[in-house]
């Protein structure tokens, strides 16, 4: 369970360009839940995810996962609980390293990066199997630099990488924004599969109203740093795209 407890975030506090990005936000996300987050530009969605990931620290309030308060930890120490898929696939991969090397690092997200050769036959086989399941034909290219792949291919791989090692929560900040519809579909279905089969909690930010309706089992909306709507699975299912669009007017 992920608990956001009275979180506030003020950027540039006290100066002229002070921004109250989040104002006393509280929300509980159950284990295994697939939470979809929508909201206008600048409403604070990314800020919330970054607070959970640890790239920024809250001005007030706390974040806890599975009973452990993590909001004071530096980013690299939160890896046992949190994994992130960035909007730009380039952010989530080391372009000059090969596919299998990227996966190796992802598999060690919570573990020790030691002086053994972990990129061995067995591991390569595992990566081949995982990658083959994407149906993109990448299983024979695992020694190719990941930067040479298309954005869609890379994003699908980052998603797989995100769950190579144990994690409670998978954060996705507009993971399909840079992808064509077909690749976007692959990524979203993969997310759904990960959520269902592995029981990993997912928080997905999206500007695609279609995706917001089609995927996930809870929908919240941000506006001006606050949660203004919170729909459970049933309410979400009966929501139409016209109704959803009206929220933004």
């Amino acid at each position: 369970m992920l608990i956001i407890n009275h979180i506030s975030k003020i950027y540039n506090a006290g100066s002229d360009d002070e921004v109250r990005a989040l104002q006393d936000v509280s929300v509980e996300v159950k284990k295994g839940e697939f939470l979809v987050v929508v909201g206008t530009n600048g409403s604070g969605k990314s800020t919330l995810l970054n607070l959970i990931l640890g790239t920024i620290l809250p001005t007030a309030g706390s974040v806890s996962i599975d009973g452990k308060t993590i909001s004071h930890l530096p980013e690299h120490r939160r890896s046992p609980w949190v994994s992130m898929v960035f909007q730009n696939p380039a952010n989530g991969t080391a372009p000059d390293l090969s596919i299998v090397e990227n996966f190796r690092l992802a598999a060690l997200r919570t573990g020790k990066k030691g002086l053994g050769i972990g990129n061995n036959k067995k591991f390569r086989q595992l990566v081949k199997e995982k990658v083959a399941a994407l149906g993109m034909g990448l299983e024979n290219k695992i020694d190719q630099s990941i930067g040479s792949l298309s954005g869609g291919q890379r994003q699908a791989l980052t998603l797989l990488m995100g769950v190579m090692d144990k994690t409670s929560v998978l954060l996705m900040d507009e993971p399909t924004a840079a992808l064509d519809p077909k690749s976007a579909k692959v990524v979203m279905e993969l997310a759904e599969q990960i959520n269902r089969e592995m029981g990993i909690t997912i928080i997905l930010i999206t500007h695609s109203m279609k995706d917001a309706l089609q995927y996930g089992d809870r929908l919240i909306m941000f506006d001006a740093g606050k949660i203004v709507k919170d729909l459970n699975k049933d309410a979400k299912q009966s929501l139409t795209i016209t109704e959803l669009l009206e929220w933004f007017t």
């Binding site: 994994s83 989530g92 080391a94 090397e101 060690l108 997200r109 573990g111 990066k113 030691g114």
Partner: protein, 291 residues
């Protein structure tokens, strides 16, 4: 004549560890580190003082590498913890090391004659130089093997990824700061090793021997980079091997310029010009292609 180029090869092999160190900071971590000038002389100074003091080579070697690592750690801490530009951090440590090296040496030059030496002195391989070449070759071989191994380990992958995309590695639980500090330590310990080798090879340690040595390392890495691009070398292990080749090419070019009778005082000018050429050439050709 052949002897002349063999001497250049010998020098190249002695400098190769330093060049590999520069490869690590510059190519793996994307950090421009110029602590090198200082940590190179540091290695040579410690070698001189220990060997003239009658201590064995087997003690001087780890001492040189450890002190180089310490220098690199200082640069790393200044760079990551105090958030000071890597170039400036390197300059600071390098400058401080000049005084430290003077203190260690006690004077500006210490000859190493009739002291213990890592190099096989006998001419059992035909000539003295052959024995020296063999020693240097063994060293380079060992360092090369260790480095290739290191870069293939999980830690090595983390090193390379953190230089390539620090945003990603941070999210993957890598402490970018400490891995950078480690990288600088490894790199400068290799530089210290070069100082150790060169001091014994040339038979003296001079307080000014490190001035501009970073350019030699940089040049070697750039030559390696050019070869890498021509032949599209992807494997990291092969790229490191290319650095040794780059170092050899670099020394050969310098030897050639000297052999055609150019004033040795112009050596640094020639070195700098050569490096400039390697950097500029690809850009110039790209420019003409665009037209």
């Amino acid at each position: 004549m052949i002897q002349f180029y063999l001497t250049a090869l010998q020098m190249a092999l002695c400098l190769a560890p330093m060049a590999m160190g520069i490869f690590i900071t510059m190519k793996v971590f994307n950090i421009p580190d110029i602590t090198t000038d200082g940590s190179y002389t540091l290695g040579a100074a410690i070698t001189a003082i220990m060997l003239t003091g009658g201590l064995p080579v087997s003690l001087a070697l780890p001492a040189c590498m450890l002190s180089g690592a310490l220098a690199g750690t200082c640069t790393g801490i200044i760079h990551t913890k105090l958030k000071i530009d890597a170039l400036l951090s390197g300059i600071l440590v390098m400058t401080a090391l000049y005084s430290i090296n003077l203190i260690i040496l006690g004077r500006s030059n210490i000859p190493l004659i009739n002291t213990a030496s890592i190099f096989i002195k006998s001419d059992w391989l035909g000539s003295e130089l052959n024995g020296q070449l063999l020693t240097a070759l063994t060293f380079v071989g060992i360092i090369l093997t260790l480095l290739i191994y290191l870069l293939r380990t999980d830690f090595g992958i983390a090193m390379r990824a953190s230089g390539n995309n620090p945003v990603m590695t941070k999210a993957l639980g890598v402490n970018n700061d400490s891995i950078r500090i480690t990288g600088l330590a490894v790199s400068n310990s290799l530089t210290g090793l070069s100082g150790f080798l060169v001091a014994q090879y040339q038979g003296f340690t001079d307080i000014n021997m490190g001035i501009g040595i970073v350019i030699t390392g940089l040049g070697s890495v750039l030559v390696a980079d050019a070869i890498k691009q021509w032949f599209n070398v992807k494997k990291i292990g092969r790229q490191i091997m290319l650095v040794v080749i780059g170092c050899t090419v670099f020394q050969a070019v310098l030897a050639f310029t000297l052999s055609i009778g150019i004033d040795p005082n112009l050596l640094k000018l020639i070195t700098a010009t050569f490096v400039l050429l390697i950097v500029a050439l690809p850009r110039l050709t790209a420019f003409t292609k665009h037209k």
